[in-house]
Symmetry: C2
Subunit: 742 residues, 2 copies
């Protein structure tokens, strides 16, 4: 037991769930402020609850239908000729995949629903706390956000562990070396939910934002978050459904799919360990789960370090916890690699034990996540060159603002790609030094090194996600304060927290991109392993002319065309997502205008707009508009796989990932930079040639508002949805591989 | 002789040059209109000549330096251990490569200089002709443009043929099967010139456009092309340097590099033909040159069909010539494949002769070019959904205009990628049916089929390029008419021609993209052939552990990272190009403002602005700003090749091509659609809910102007420069392959 550490997985998972419940109770027991605040909070809460109910009902129905289709298709297609585990071929593997899909989808939905429920109850309590103390407000928002963070990571961990253990018990004919392959449906389920949660949430949030701003700010000239605007509640609800539910589902998928992928890669190391007679060979398969468990434990401890004093920058308070999480994760990584990566008396290069090389790879992953946090800040924070450049360009109008922002967005791919490239090559090199050589003479350590780096990076997910959900909570708290006309001191505190929340939201997107790209390599490799498991079975069964897939050859015309399709898919999908925001915003504009026109006394506060109606209309429109891009994302890889074959679809997956990661980087960072260029001008940092401040109300500010509006659907709808698309490509091909092999 | 057809190459080349000189004489002999027109024409001509002189001096110096470096590097690196032709190893091959590079660069520059010279002398003559007759004006502009078209294609053809023949005579130790490899320097020289011509021209044209519009139209409220604006001549000069010189160099490179690449691929077929004892085996290598010669002849004939009547749509007059070119090209293709693709008694699949399959592949190429012409029109012309959508979105302001245009730009990748994919797979399939199987049992017909398709597509290049240069000539003619306050009838005709010119310019970009993407496959394959020639020599020399490059494996970490770098390079390069426009425009804005302030009487026409000074400042700034993106484009593949090796650089090339083609599609079509959405509103097609026209001066129009301005550097600087980047990646790796092999 001491040298296997598996036991820590369920313990850490359950502990994290209990801790999340404790945090939820703690937040809910707090003061909700004066009645005016509670009223606003209630309206937001009702709107969000209505959205959650409708959204998850829709997704649930879609998931059920998809599960049945997947089960039947896999059951029919995966006969013994194309089975990864011949003992299960037929409807048995179909049913197992469908059940795994549903469990994955269910866990993701559950964490999203509970996270949202707490998030939209934390906002009013944060606003109330802001009346007394900055630190208390930070703590309430961070604890509210951590409920999401812990549930996402722990339910993903418990889900993968649970379905793995269940299938091991129920189907003893599945060897441990095949077991990770039969649970890939879990990852697909998680991707499926993430796709629609992110798309629906992203469309909702930006349509509400753009729609209510265009009528309120532009046409009526009233401030943002003004209670006279019928769309304002939809906007506040939107912050939650995009950043909390959407990003939560995104990272749920990351942790689930990448865990399973890493377990699949662990099989090669397991086989080597078993043949060499090293003790506990199954450690190589369980390793990713144990690493994740240590990450959860580190984050629980770190939550107690979220403290500081009233005068300090709130970002420092959050950073304190982040560095504790990262530091403890390094220790956990050291313990896990040391205990679990037992290679007997065999050592890696230069006589250095294998575990040390893998520990290095894990540290590379952690370092990459830190690097991305700073890269994102450089490109999107007002204190650096890029945002200033955009603000300066705003002086000559909206056109130059857009041109400059586009140039900045494109530029951000340089450092992003270099960082990912260095991280991949470094972790691959470190892993290959461990000298894990299989029977065929192939060094499998390199690819496993990239998997360990991904696992290292994902150790801090729960904390990052807590910081992310901190964003919409504080944003909402600001809205509640504005809405309920709270005292100036409270508003000043919520404004400061809101600014910090913008940074943490941007940073989480950088983190999600980085994890998707680092994981990409792991996920292709898992796909190739699965294809080869099937082809190997065919060869063993004596089928003629079958050769293992040893290379994804871009010089093959089918692979090249599939790669072209993968890259194109990213643009086309983004186009649909961006257009969906526009269409949904149109319906909101029409409704808000109607209310201004038809409900008497709105402008002089004697009449109350019908907020719920706007929320309802937005909800329905967003859910309707998410269907087209969602279907395209699911159908494209299947069509390419059926038409061009299993090698080509691997090309689509790889080049689609490259293209998606870069396009998402452009959209997220460009959007973030435009947003902060506007804030930079609003804070009075921009001056004309004579030194006069060009602030709110200046032409430069109007130009910057255009850039901010353009950036909204880029950074909050299309960009984040691309993260999910990239991972969906991986899970869908992993599950449907038997379909593409003839 | 009857079954070799080689002799037609020099004859057609020289004939085309003579025809171009005839056209030039014809245009120059025509009426230049009243003195007022001639004065304006002189100013534009002087500005353009000054730019051409400075631009080509700069490029010439850069090319000389590059040639010396390439010669020395290749001479030092390409020792017998990594030589493609061991007999030439060392400084000999270095010198040959450098000379080929200079000849390629020289031919490209020569065609650019003469083309520009005639183009900026045709504008005033077109304006003068417009005072009399629409058809005559069309003919003058088209003949002026055709000078460029014929020179580009014929000098590229004669250059490749000349250097090939020269090296065959001078170095008899080079077998014909190795000969295409030793002239790759020609293609690199052409790419090198194209890179700087397109970048410099693209930056100049849009900086002048944006800069003079922002001061003239926005700040001073005077019309476009108004003589009071000091930047207006620079703007008119810019149209020529971008569309005529820039696009000419772009397509010069296409025809040169793709010819050489196709000849390299022909070597495999040559070897099969020789071993099988078919007559004239070298036909397979000369085939691309002969096809090109037939294309030139078809275009010469077609020029006599550019006629029509005064009342018809001028686009129809141009289309008439295009369809004649395409029709004659099909016949030429049939003759060439029938005569040259002799497979003795061997047939392809189903007993159908090989030549018929290749004829089919060539027709696929021609059909692809036609398809792209229509796709471009659908996405960028006002009569279809995409442009209308953008115009509608302009009603809610510049932000929604930009969002909608971005969605349209992204959407255009769908049809583009599908068309390319279908064309590649179809021509590959057709070629593979010819059953050209080499000694190793590999069917080489498929890849050769894609080469034949590319050659088929490029048969119409001279005509397309004539239509392209028709654009700046008529645009300038409009400017001359406006400037010299010509009679209304003349202005009405030049306006109509200008609108047609916008279509032909957009369509040429679509054509350039399509040819780049279809050719991509051919160029990678040529690179792999060259690498294998070197590796084969190493194996023959007994070097241990060398294996041929049979696959570019994306699952290899180095290849994947290089692919990521290739995709990133497209964004980063575009970012630099877009930013260069912004910086150059700033210098123009400062100067134009200064002239309005300091030169008395400009606004009431009593003072004359100093046009030449703006032209000079723009020229210097554009040439300064082109250096950074140019260096990045050249250095990136070299660095990746040196660090990650020869297989990885192939991955960079392939994924860079995919990424570049798609990004260029987004930028070109998005920009074109924005431009035409503005024109759509200006022509009074947009109406509000009550049916009132929202025309010039409306808020919707102002919003559309923002979109148009944003699109300018996208479609005329970054997009076209990406075409060149994609092909540069191919030629640079082809020439420097020995550097990446250890």
């Amino acid at each position: 037991m001491a040298d296997s550490l598996h036991w820590i997985v369920p313990i850490a998972g359950v502990l994290a769930v209990l801790f999340a419940l404790y945090l939820a109770r703690d937040v809910l027991s707090r003061d909700k402020g004066p009645q005016a605040m509670q009223d606003v909070g209630d309206i937001i809460r009702e709107g969000a609850d209505a959205f959650v109910k409708r959204q998850y009902t829709t997704i649930g129905v879609l998931a059920l239908v998809a599960a049945v289709i997947i089960g039947v298709v896999i059951g029919l297609v995966e006969n013994t000729a194309v089975a990864d585990v011949p003992a299960l071929a037929g409807l048995k593997i179909g049913a197992m995949t469908a059940v795994a899909f549903l469990v994955g989808a269910g866990c993701s939905m559950l964490s999203g629903i509970i996270g949202m429920t707490i998030s939209v109850r934390s906002n009013v309590r944060t606003a109330a706390a802001a009346r007394r103390s900055l630190v208390e407000a930070v703590q309430v928002a961070m604890r509210g956000g951590a409920v999401s963070g812990f549930l996402v990571v722990s339910l993903s961990l418990l889900g993968v562990w649970g379905i793995f253990t269940l299938y091991q018990v129920l189907f003893p004919e599945v060897g441990i070396a095949q077991a990770p392959f039969v649970i890939v449906g879990f990852g697909f389920g998680a991707s499926f939910v993430a796709l629609f949660a992110q798309l629906g949430g992203g469309i909702y949030t930006k349509a509400a934002d753009v729609g209510s701003d265009l009528v309120g700010k532009v046409e009526k000239g009233i401030p943002e978050d003004d209670p006279r605007n019928a769309g304002v509640i939809a906007d506040l609800v939107g912050d939650n459904v995009g950043d909390c539910a959407g990003r939560g589902a995104d990272l749920f998928e990351s942790t689930a799919a990448e865990n399973i992928g890493a377990m699949i890669l662990g099989v090669a190391a397991y086989t080597i360990a078993k043949n060499a007679g090293w003790s506990n060979p199954e450690n190589w398969i369980f390793f990713p789960l144990v690493i994740r468990a240590f990450g959860l434990l580190s984050t629980i401890v770190a939550m107690f370090f979220v403290r500081g004093n009233e005068t300090e920058n709130p970002m420092n308070i959050l950073n304190r916890g982040y560095w504790v999480t990262a530091g403890l994760s390094v220790i956990g990584l050291g313990i896990t690699t040391n205990i679990m990566m037992n290679t007997g008396t065999a050592t890696g290069a230069n006589g250095i034990p294998a575990w040390i090389w893998f520990f290095g790879a894990g540290v590379v992953g952690l370092a990459t996540s830190v690097a991305f946090v700073y890269i994102t800040q450089f490109y999107t924070a007002g204190s650096f060159r890029p945002v200033r450049e955009i603000a300066e360009a705003s002086k000559t109008g909206p056109a130059t603002n857009i041109i400059s922002g586009t140039a900045v967005g494109y530029e951000t791919t340089l450092v992003t790609a270099l960082t990912i490239g260095v991280a991949l090559i470094a972790s691959h090199w470190l892993g290959s030094q461990a000298d894990l050589v299989d029977k065929a003479g192939k060094n499998v350590g390199g690819i496993f090194g990239t998997a360990v780096a991904t696992m290292g990076m994902l150790m801090t997910t729960a904390y990052i996600l807590a910081m992310d959900t901190f964003g919409p909570i504080t944003d909402n708290a600001g809205g509640v304060a504005e809405f309920s006309r709270a005292e100036a001191g409270a508003r000043e505190i919520t404004d400061r927290l809101d600014a910090v929340g913008n940074t943490t939201k941007a940073l989480t997107k950088g983190y999600a991109i980085a994890s998707a790209s680092l994981a990409a390599f792991l996920l292709f490799s898992a796909y190739i392993d699965k294809v080869n498991l099937i082809l190997g079975n065919q060869i063993a069964a004596g089928k003629q002319g079958v050769v293992l897939l040893t290379s994804v050859n871009l010089a093959d015309v089918n692979v090249f065309v599939a790669a072209l399709m993968g890259a194109m898919l990213c643009y086309f999908f983004s186009s649909l997502a961006i257009r969906a925001v526009g269409k949904t915003a149109q319906t909101i504009i029409v409704e808000v205008r109607r209310q201004f026109r038809e409900i008497p006394g709105i402008m002089d506060y004697t009449g109350r707009p019908d907020y719920a109606r706007v929320v309802d209309i937005t909800t329905r429109a967003a859910l309707r508009e998410m269907v087209a891009p969602g279907l395209v994302a699911v159908a494209a890889p299947i069509i390419v796989g059926l038409v061009l074959g299993y090698q080509a679809v691997a090309g689509m997956l790889m080049v689609g990932t490259i293209s998606g990661v870069l396009l998402a980087t452009v959209l997220n960072n460009g959007g973030g930079a435009w947003d902060n260029a506007k804030k930079y001008i609003e804070s009075g940092h921009l001056k004309d040639d004579d030194g006069n401040v060009l602030g709110k109300g200046s032409d430069a500010h109007a130009a910057a508002v255009v850039g901010d509006t353009v950036g909204d659907p880029f950074k909050d709808t299309a960009g984040p949805s691309l993260h999910v698309l990239v991972k969906l490509l991986a899970t869908i091909t992993l599950v449907l591989a038997p379909l593409f092999i003839r």
